[in-house]
């Protein structure tokens, strides 16, 4: 029993320390973001890598999710004569929940692990020390462009993914359930409100901060050579996925309380 209590208290202490360190890291990011110099070239490069590089896969996932959801909801609701509700259900669930979540999980896997591996490798090969030794701030040079690029790119990807899903849903509604395109579009437009798009955008911004701050923090603290780099990538994907899924519930609750 004593062993179990010690184990739990140690775990809790470590997690509290991690939260504290992440908080300080984020504050350092904000400090560097709001003071000069700002690396526009590096930001642009990161937007290309993070945003444009993830565009095709995000759109495909959004589109396919729309196809599958419409198919499942369509056949499910046909039994109860409710197929007319498919456009509303698909568009709302895609924009509010599925598109931000799927896009963020995808970015956590694709970009989060990449950032932690890249910065982790730089750390174990003393390149981060070199950035400092050459009289520059590693947070300013490495973290600010990555986090800012994710904050700009991820919400746009999330919203685009949602709209691609709606397009996919329209194709299935038309081909499988003979729903006129005009009716589908009309239903979607009368269902979606600005706050739904805003909610999706806001969630993605939050998830972008979570993914990239975790990834950069872990990269900066990578130890144990190449094995440490691999461990850092895994750690980032697992932690950010859990935080995305858990925090999504609370963000949804807050958005519903505020706008519904």
């Amino acid at each position: 029993m004593k062993f179990f209590v010690n184990f739990l208290s140690k775990k809790m202490e470590n997690n509290l320390q991690l939260i504290g360190e992440l908080y300080c890291f984020f504050i350092e990011y904000l400090k560097c973001l709001t003071t000069r110099p700002f690396y526009w070239g590096r930001l642009y490069q990161q937007i290309i890598e993070l945003g444009i590089g993830s565009l095709s896969i995000t759109l495909v996932i959004g589109f396919v999710t729309g196809l599958v959801m419409t198919l499942q909801f369509g056949y499910g609701l046909t039994k109860f004569g409710g197929v007319l509700y498919v456009p509303a259900i698909v568009s709302l669930s895609l924009l509010r929940e599925l598109a931000p979540i799927f896009t963020s999980l995808l970015i956590a896997g694709r970009i989060g692990s990449g950032i932690s591996a890249e910065i982790g490798a730089m750390n174990v090969t003393q390149q981060i020390d070199a950035v400092r030794a050459l009289g520059t701030s590693p947070v300013r040079v490495l973290v600010v462009p990555r986090v800012t690029a994710a904050i700009i790119s991820l919400p746009l990807l999330g919203v685009l993914s949602g709209f691609m899903g709606i397009i996919g849903g329209g194709i299935i509604a038309y081909t499988e359930f003979n729903m006129p395109i005009g009716f589908y579009v009309n239903k979607v437009l009368s269902t979606i409100r600005f706050v739904d798009v805003f909610g999706s955008y806001f969630k993605c911004m939050f998830f972008a901060v979570v993914i990239t701050i975790l990834a950069c923090y872990r990269g900066f603290n990578t130890k144990d050579g190449t094995r440490g780099v691999g461990n850092a990538s895994t750690w980032v994907v697992v932690r950010s996925s859990i935080i995305i899924l858990v925090s999504d519930f609370f963000l949804s609750k807050i958005l519903i309380l505020l706008f519904d």
Binding site: M122, Q126, Q127, D129, A130, A133, L134, G135, S137
Partner: protein, 242 residues
């Protein structure tokens, strides 16, 4: 001789492990000081502490009579343009080509035009006998060439002091000779240096004075001639181990 860098009573530990108990020494203008010691005596930690990459637990560091160990990270950036650091494994940015690596400090700390920066980089590469590799990635270079590219990056801002961390480690005899020649060339230009190394022949070739770190403090200080003729048990022990 005028002191350019001085360390007083430096103490540094990692958890329970005490690395430096009480380290004090001075570096004079234009000299090359060799920092010797067995593995684990904290030679690299000492070098890193001098520019604040590592923070000492206590003690004082003076650069040109100004105390620098209490400066903030932002304030240290300026100091680091005057005290450059040559890393053991070069620490070149592996995603950037040689030009971008060497030009990095110029882009960060000067307002030179791209053309002027290109000229300076070309000149620095020429100085380390590495012309024509600007567009190559560090991974395309041999170990000796990477070392020289790292040295070119170290001198690009015309520093007052260069800190060399094991500059000859892992190099073949010809490249060791090349690196020693370069260190002597930089000394001839008036740059002071601290060189931490295990390589005694190289240290004898380039250093004016040598100090030996042992049991967390400076156990020997003297010229190369004094080192060679010393009967000091610390020197004898060190020579026996090497």
């Amino acid at each position: 001789m005028k002191t350019i860098l001085e360390v007083k009573n430096m103490r540094k530990s990692f958890g329970e492990k005490l690395v430096h108990r009480d380290v004090s020494f001075a570096l004079y203008e234009g000299e090359t000081l060799g920092l010797l010691g067995n593995s684990g005596t904290g030679k690299s930690v000492l070098l890193r502490s001098l520019i604040g990459i590592e923070n000492a637990d206590s003690g004082e560091i003076y650069f040109k009579n100004n105390r620098i160990d209490q400066l903030s990270e932002e304030q240290l950036f300026k100091v680091r343009t005057k005290i450059s650091y040559s890393f053991q494994y070069n620490a070149l940015f592996d995603s950037d080509n040689v030009f971008e690596n060497i030009a990095y400090p110029l882009f960060e700390h000067t307002k030179l035009s791209e053309e002027e920066i290109l000229q300076k980089v070309t000149q620095a590469l020429k100085e380390v006998n590495l012309s024509g590799v600007e567009s190559l990635l560090p991974s395309d270079l041999s170990g000796g060439m990477q070392k020289r590219a790292g040295l070119a990056r170290s001198i690009i801002l015309n520093p007052d002091i260069i800190l060399y961390d094991e500059p000859t480690a892992g190099l073949d005899p010809i490249n060791v000779e090349n690196v020693c020649d370069l260190i002597n060339k930089f000394r001839a230009k008036g740059i002071s240096s601290i060189l931490c190394t295990h390589d005694i022949p190289a240290a004898k070739k380039v250093c004016d004075r040598l100090i030996i770190l042992d049991e967390g403090k400076v156990a020997f200080t003297g010229t190369v001639a004094e080192f060679e003729s010393s009967n000091d048990p610390v020197v004898q022990k060190f020579l026996m181990n090497h």
